[in-house]
Structures are given as structure tokens and as C-alpha cells.
Symmetry: C2
Subunit: 223 residues, 2 copies
Amino acid sequence: MTRDKASKSGDQVSELTASRLSVYLRCLNALDAAGVKSVSSKTLAEQFHLNAAQIRKDLAYFGEFGVRGVGYYVRELKRHLRVILGLDRTVRVAVVGAGNLGLALADYPGFRQEGFEIVAMFDSERGKVGRKSRTGVRIIEMGEFRKVVKRERIDIAVLAVPASAAQEVVNVAVAAGIRALLNFSPGALKVPPGVKLKNVDLTVSLESLSFFLARGEADEDEG
Amino acid sequence: MTRDKASKSGDQVSELTASRLSVYLRCLNALDAAGVKSVSSKTLAEQFHLNAAQIRKDLAYFGEFGVRGVGYYVRELKRHLRVILGLDRTVRVAVVGAGNLGLALADYPGFRQEGFEIVAMFDSERGKVGRKSRTGVRIIEMGEFRKVVKRERIDIAVLAVPASAAQEVVNVAVAAGIRALLNFSPGALKVPPGVKLKNVDLTVSLESLSFFLARGEADEDEG
């Protein structure tokens, strides 16, 4: 909260760009699966309800991926996007909290598909330790967190714990050397400089539906 | 995919605006809980890493909420935002799919807090029917869906089913009169005109962390 505005706004641009690149990758995966070899920014925008100018601008920032008269080669652009998003190697993830949400996240098929590996789950409840999720992710005692993070070279910790326990888990994760956290619990959490915390608030999605119902508008949306 | 561009872009603006209003409401809740009575767009932006000009523009679209020399009265603006977002009445929600994700969503504390009521869960698995989630949401047989939706005046259906079952559930929900759906399963789903479908892709959040790790950048983020 004390950072200067220039770095703050630079940050927000990167953040939004990363989300859009991730959406483009998802669209390209769908096109590739359908056997499409190349696509223009215009067609990509039309098919997936995106903005063609924004696509061109976002991609141009990272290199010259477009080919005049062709657009983008689907597989080539996929490969480039995966490198930009850091998905050209397996990203190793630990889920903290083995309740329903934690178990659901550990087994979420989309993660594995994109090259994320859910290496372990952690919980402080004795009765859960030693069990496995449906897809075989083992639940480890929270006391082992630091050791396992080092040994398994965990990149990202996903927090699916009650709000009251969240800050303590963040502190433990940061002390263990974790530099990126995805948090599903409500409430503001503090991380030191150099650590990235991303909050997922599922209420925002539901409110956006409520907004449309209240306004009597409705339409398909891929967001 | 055949809609004209004007309506499509108008749609996207509303969609993004709704998400931002929802974030503003979350920030105002935090300020209200901390006993703050009024706040300027500048302070709001600084405290929550938002854009002050965007806040003023978004709010001005719906009315004149700002007071010269004061900014916004926190509680008053909260009340206005809740009306705009359709949260001035209880929004009734059904969760389809009583797996780990469905159970987690049925018990998600953020929903209840903002005035959403999770009225029922549905599942086609006999062994689950009749059970309840931890907070007491009853699991009903999928065959009863239409009847229960009418009787309980369900506004929104949340889909937490495997991808292979998702389109069939959408069809059943639409036939039962549901006009707003929140989908957690991967893959593209079709809804008829007049029905709003919102997809939540949890992979996007994880990829944005991977993006920052790959670039060696890191910073706190409230998005």
C-alpha cells in the first residue's frame, strides 16, 4: 500500500495481461483440438467474444507472432504463450487445507491439463493426514510443510483454509520459501515484498449474474 | 457467436463493470467493518490497488454518489451498490453436483454474507441424495430439479458437475426456467438467447502466478 503509483499501475497491467494471455491459450487449445491450423485475431475475437485490437496489442508486446495474410499459427502461438506464462516446465503446486474445497482443487482437471502438478496437500487435522484425494494426492501433516516444500521444490501454495487460519498459513508458506500464493479464503492477507498473493473471490462471479438478473439483461459470456 | 459487434461490446463493458462494482462493494465492506465513515476515490484506489478515475467513471454511470470535499459515504455507497448488483433482495441459488467442489460451494461463506441463499444441491447419485452439506444444504435427486426450481423460486444454478455432464445439466436448467448459470466445469457450453452463462476457470488464476514466477516479478495483488 505504500508503493509508488508508477510501479502499482505497471503491476496491474501485467496482472490483467497475464489473465488475458491465459484466456487466449485456452481458446487456442480449443481451436487446436478442433484441428484448426491458423487463425486471425479477428476470427479469434469473434469466436471467443474477445477484442481483436487487444489481442494484437497483448501479443505484440511479447514478440512478432502474427504472419501477414495468415494471422497466427495455432500450435506455434500456443507454444509461445506457454513459454510466456511459464508453463514450458511443470509448475509444482501444494494445496493447504484438505476440506471439500482443498480436495476439489487437488483434483481439478484443468490444472493438470495445463502442466501444473499438484504435488501434495497439507492439513493439521490428524484424521485427514495419510489419506489421499480421489486422484491420489496425499494429505501430509502441516508440521511437515517446510521440509516437503524444499524436498519437492514447490512453486505455488494454494490456500483452502478457513479465514481465521489463512494469515498463519501464509506466514508458514513464506518462511518456507514460497513466492506465489493463490488464496480462496475471504479477508485481506499480508505478504512481504517479493511474494505474489492472488485472491480468488467466487462471490464476484455470482454477483455479476445477480447484476444481469437485476437489470433484466442476459447473454452468453465466456469470461 | 453470431451477435453483432455493437451488442457484443456493450455486453463486455457491462460484464467488466459488474465485476468491478462487486470488488468496490467488497472494499467498502472492509472499510465499514473498520469503522470508516467516508472515503475519496483516491484513498479507495490507493488502499485497494484500484484506479481512482475508473472508480469515479463506473459509479458516475449509475448516479451521483460522490459529495464534494467528502468523497463517498461508505454505508450509503454500499447500499447503492447492493441495489445496482441486485443484492437488495435474497438471491436464491441451487448447486448442481454434490462432489467436493459442489459441497465446497454450497458452504462457501462469502455467498451467504452477500445475500445469496444456497437453497438446495442436486445430484444424480442415489448414495448422495438425502444427505446434507456441512452447513445443512440438502442434496436432492436431479429428477426433482424442475419441481424444486419452481417451488423454491431459484434464480441462479451453479454447475459443479463433470464436463461430460455439463451441457445436459444446462439444458435441464434452462428448460426449468433458470436464466443465469455459473459454470465451473471446463469446455464450452451453449445457452439460448436470454440466458446468461458465466464460466469460472480456476486455471487462469494459477497461470497468472506462474507468469509472475517465470518473469521473476512479484508483488501483492488484490485481484
